[in-house]
Amino acid sequence: MLDVELRLPSDVQYVGLARLVVTVAARQAGMVDERVEDLKIAVSEATTNAIVAHQQYSSSSPVILRFGPTSGGSFEVTIVDAGPGFQPQTPEAAAEKDLSTEGGLGVTLIRGLADDVRFLRGEGMKVHMRFAVGLEAEAG
């Protein structure tokens, strides 16, 4: 059950606050430090994408994060935005990417760091990430 909800204005200055709050909750849930670092980066990426989507489409709605420990030793985070969504690309090594653009690595990082991630398109975009609290189920 994702029992905490954080509503953020569409301003990139709040990405740091999202990282801070989610990682404190994860530590309280017993997440080991190495996994907290993975979680922190993934939350930063998904929250950045959501806020930038709101800015691009002039949405006045808040970006919503729901998070908390779940059964089975996991910690889950869902980040919801009101943007049009996007088609997440399959993981792609940077060496094979077109580096003429500076963006596009965020989804690669989320996929590489979370134990499970789902991108759900509805009226907005919903990114659902799961992290094992311990090290044993860490994604490669």
Binding site: V12, E34, I41, A94, A95, L99, G103
Partner: protein
């Protein structure tokens, strides 16, 4: 949450020391500094990330942008990083193959051409 930037020269190399958190909010400052340095003719840059506490893909993108800028002047951009949590995101994104990376500044100074 702050980003600190400080640069100095050693021979023909310019060392840009980055500290704190590099994310979508602070990365524009790093981008501006790299653009300024290249604009001033600093084409052999070593970015010392020893004091970086957080870096995400926005920061990676700025470093890639800096690399492209110096390469357009036949320059180099090397990274000093010894923190596993930072190195991990370079590995996941494949950027360890793109940047010359060193554990210490001394190694970077010895190797950077």
């Amino acid at each position: 949450m702050d980003l600190s930037l400080d640069h100095r020269s050693e021979g023909d190399r310019t060392i840009l020391e980055v500290g704190g958190e590099v994310d979508v909010y602070t990365a524009p400052k790093l981008r501006e500094r790299l653009v300024e340095l290249v604009g001033e003719g600093h084409y052999k840059i070593i970015v010392d990330m020893t004091k970086v506490e957080f870096l995400d893909s926005t920061g990676l993108g700025v470093l890639v942008g800096g690399l492209k800028r110096v390469r357009s002047h036949d320059g180099t951009l090397a990274l000093v990083c010894n923190q596993e949590r930072i190195l991990k995101i370079f590995r996941i994104t494949g950027l360890t193959k793109v940047f010359p990376m060193f554990d210490t500044l001394d190694e970077a100074l010895a190797d950077t051409q």
